[in-house]
Homo-oligomer: 404 residues x 2
C-alpha cells in the first residue's frame, strides 16, 4: 500500500482541506492518507476550537485513513520544530510521500530554495542577525535575509513571506535533515490568503476566516457553506456537549490567574519567553479583563502575534525552556482515529516500527512527551469552563482510538 502523509491542524476541517486531501490522493496515486495532526493546542499558540478527538473524528469521516497526534512539544513549536516533529512521524510511519498545500504550488521551487539556503547558510545567517539587530521581528528578518541572498539563484524560488510556503520549506528541510527517503509534493492552495475573511458566497474559506465568523456570529449555520457535512455534524455534536468552542478569549481568565500567581521574573522560565517580555505579560495581565486588549498591550514589533501566543500557551501549560531544550524527536506514535485501511496499513508496518505504538496511554504513562499531551488535554478541558470540560478531565488518559 502506498501511503501519503499530510501535516494538519483541521481547526476545523473545511472544504479547502477536503480539496487538499483529494488532490494529494490523486497527485501522489496513494492508497491511503496518513495525517499527523496537532493536539489541543496549535502552532499559532492557541487552544483548538474543539478537542483533538473531535477533530480526528471529523478527519476520519472526511476520508483520512489514519490520524496520529503530533505531540504538544512539536505542535506548539515554531515552524522548524513543528515541521521536524511532523515529518519525523510521517517518516516513522513509512510514508512514501508527504504532500503539503502551499501558495507556491511547485515542488521544484521548494527544492531550489532549500539548495540555495543550504549552500549559502553562512551568508543567510549573517544577514538574519543583521536584520534582527535592527529590531524587527524574527520572521521579518528571515524574509529580508532571504531576499538579500536570492540574487545568488537563477532558478525559480519560493516566496517565503507566505505562511504555507514557510511551513512547506521547513517540511522539506526536515525530510532532508533526517535523510528520509520520503518524497515531497505540494498542491497549490485554493484560498489565496491565509487570513482572508470567510465570504458566504464561496465554498472555500480559510480556517482562520471560519473561526472568525464562528466567534463573531456565534452560529454554526453561518459557516455551513465552507464545511463538508461531516464537519458540520462533528461541530454540532461538540457544541451540544461542550457548550463552548475553545479560544483564548474563553481561556483568558485562567491564563490571567496563572500569570498573576507568579512573580514577573519566574515567567521567564517558560518556553519561548525571552528578552524581558515577562514584564509586559505580567503588567498586561493585571490591567486587562479580556484577551484582545491584553495581547495588544504586549504586542511590539519585536514579536509576532503568534510568537506571543505560543509563549502564553507554554505559560498556561507550565512548559519551560528546560523541557523544550531536552526534547529532540517524537518518541511514540499515538493514533487518534483510523479507517479499516488505516488499521490494515498499521498492521502491515507494525513489525518495522522504530517507535512504540500507543493506543492506550495508561500503558505507557512514563513517557515525558506523552505526559505533556495528557496534561495539555486536561488543561484544555478545564479552559472551556463548562460542566462538560470539567467532566472530561482525565479522559485523554483512557481514550482509545476511533476505529471505522
Amino acid at each position: 500500500m502506498k501511503a501519503t502523509g499530510i501535516v494538519v491542524e483541521y481547526n476545523p476541517f473545511h472544504n479547502g482541506h477536503l480539496h487538499h486531501l483529494k488532490q494529494s490522493q490523486i497527485q501522489t496515486s496513494s492508497d491511503i492518507t496518513i495525517a499527523v495532526m496537532s493536539g489541543n493546542f496549535l502552532q499559532r499558540g492557541e487552544p483548538a476550537l474543539v478537542d483533538k478527538w473531535t477533530r480526528a473524528k471529523m478527519a476520519l469521516d472526511a476520508g483520512v485513513d489514519l490520524i496520529v497526534e503530533l505531540p504538544y512539544a512539536f505542535a506548539t513549536a515554531q515552524a522548524s520544530d513543528f515541521a521536524k516533529g511532523a515529518i519525523f512521524l510521517l517518516d516513522a510511519l513509512k510514508c512514501d510521500t508527504f504532500c503539503f498545500g502551499s501558495e507556491e504550488g511547485s515542488i521544484a521551487s521548494f527544492e531550489h530554495t532549500y539548495n540555495l539556503l543550504s549552500s549559502k547558510k553562512l551568508e543567510y545567517n549573517e544577514a538574519i542577525s543583521q536584520f534582527v539587530k535592527q529590531g524587527i521581528s524574527y520572521p521579518k528578518a528571515l524574509n529580508e535575509a532571504y531576499k538579500s541572498i536570492s540574487r545568488f539563484s537563477e532558478e525559480p524560488l519560493v516566496d517565503l513571506s507566505k505562511p504555507n510556503n514557510i511551513l512547506g520549506f521547513h517540511y522539506l528541510e526536515a525530510a532532508r535533515q533526517l535523510n528520509s527517503p520520503i518524497q515531497p509534493a505540494t498542491i497549490q492552495r485554493v484560498v489565496a490568503n491565509y487570513h482572508d475573511d470567510a465570504r458566504e458566497t464561496e465554498s472555500i474559506a480559510s480556517a482562520t476566516g471560519i473561526r472568525k465568523v464562528l466567534f463573531e456570529e456565534k452560529e454554526l449555520s453561518k459557516v455551513h457553506s465552507f464545511l463538508p457535512s461531516t464537519s458540520i455534524a462533528g461541530l454540532e455534536h461538540w457544541l451540544e456537549h461542550a457548550e463552548s468552542f475553545g479560544s483564548w478569549e474563553r481561556f483568558y481568565p485562567l491564563l490571567r490567574l496563572i500569570i498573576l500567581r507568579q512573580n514577573k521574573k519566574s515567567i521567564a522560565k517558560y518556553a519561548e519567553v525571552t528578552e524581558g517580555i515577562e514584564n509586559a505579560i505580567w503588567n498586561a495581565a493585571v490591567k486587562n479583563e479580556h484577551f484582545q486588549p491584553f495581547m495588544e498591550q504586549i504586542k511590539s514589533k519585536r514579536f509576532t502575534w503568534t510568537r506571543i501566543q505560543r509563549m502564553l500557551t507554554h505559560i498556561y501549560t507550565d512548559f519551560t525552556w528546560d523541557q523544550l531544550r531536552a526534547i529532540e524527536y517524537p518518541t511514540y506514535i499515538r493514533p487518534l482515529a483510523m479507517s479499516s485501511s488505516g488499521q490494515a496499513y498499521l498492521q502491515s508496518i507494525k513489525k518495522d516500527l522504530q517507535l512504540p505504538l500507543v493506543s492506550r496511554v495508561a500503558a505507557s504513562k512514563e513517557n515525558i512527551l506523552l505526559q505533556l499531551d495528557i496534561k495539555a488535554a486536561n488543561l484544555y478541558y478545564l479552559g472551556l469552563q463548562t460542566n462538560y470540560g470539567a467532566s472530561m478531565v482525565g479522559s485523554d488518559f483512557r481514550q482509545i482510538p476511533f476505529r471505522q
Copy 2:
C-alpha cells in the same frame, strides 16, 4: 488613650463578635479597639466570604477603631505562627492589652497552662513525638501529650481540645516570647461550640454556622438574625457587586487547573505540603469535579481538614516552603479602615512605630510580605469568576484605608 487589641477574621462579623467587642472594651476599660484582621485567605485555609476591605468596613461600622491587615503569610499559617504575627502587630501598635474569646473564659488558667508547658517542655515534646508516631493528626497528638503532662499541675488548666482555647494559648505564648508588655485578657465565648449550626431562633451563631446557612440556602435573609445591621448592609453591598461569596467550592475549578498544570512531585514545594500528600492531591484533582468529594478523597487521619485546606491555599497562591521558612515577623502595618479615634491614636504613636505604616501599597511595593498580600488579593478576586472579580484585579495595590 488606652488601646485594646483583638485578633479577628470577621468572616463575617456577627452578633457574637459584637458581644466580644463590647465586652472587651468594658473589661479592659479601653478607649479604642484595634483589630488585626486576616486578609482574603483565612487560618482555616479558605478564601474569605467577602474581601478584606468589605470585612474591614463592616468592622469599622460595628465600632472597631482601627483595623490592620494580618499579612497572608501569618493569616494562613498554623495557629502558633498565626498568633505570633498577630500579637507582634498588636505589640507594635502599642496596645496595652489584647483580649480574646475563649471557651475557657479565665486568663489565669491560660497562664497556668503556659507556665506548665514551658517548665515541662522536654516531656511535652517527647510525648508529642510519641503520639505523632502512632499516626494520629498533629492537633490530636498535641492534645494527648498535653493530657499526659497535666498531672504535673495543681492549678486549673485550659482545655486545649477547644479551638479558641488553642488560639488563646498561642496568643499568650507569643506575647511572652516577644517579651511584650502587652497584657492578656479573655472573655468567655457565648456560642459554646465553634462548629454549631446556626439556629434561627437565636441571635448568636458561629461564623461557620452562618456561612453554612448562606451556602446552603443562598439567601442573606436566612442569617439576618445573627448579624448586626451593619454587617447585613455590608454583605448586601458585596453581593450586589460581586455576585458571589468566596468559597472553595467556588474557587475549585481554578485550584484544579493549578494542580493539574504541575507534576505531582512539584506540588511538594508548596508550604505545608508534606509526607507525600502531593500524590493524593493530584489524583483527587484529576478525578473530582467538586471541592467536597475532592477533599474527602484526600482526607486521612494524618491531616486535619484545615491543614489540608491550608496546603491548598498555598498551592493556589504559589506560596512555597522556601518562602514560609524565610519569614519571621510582620514587616509593616497596613491599616484597612479607621475611625477618627483610630486615626488620632495612630497619629499619637506614629513617631514611636518600629514598623513602616503602609497606607498606599504603591509606595512600598518591594516588600515581600506585602507583595504576597497583593497577589493573594488578585487571586481572590479572580477566584470569584465574576465580572466584578475580574475588574478588581490590581485594585488592592491602589486602595487606601477607609476613614470614618
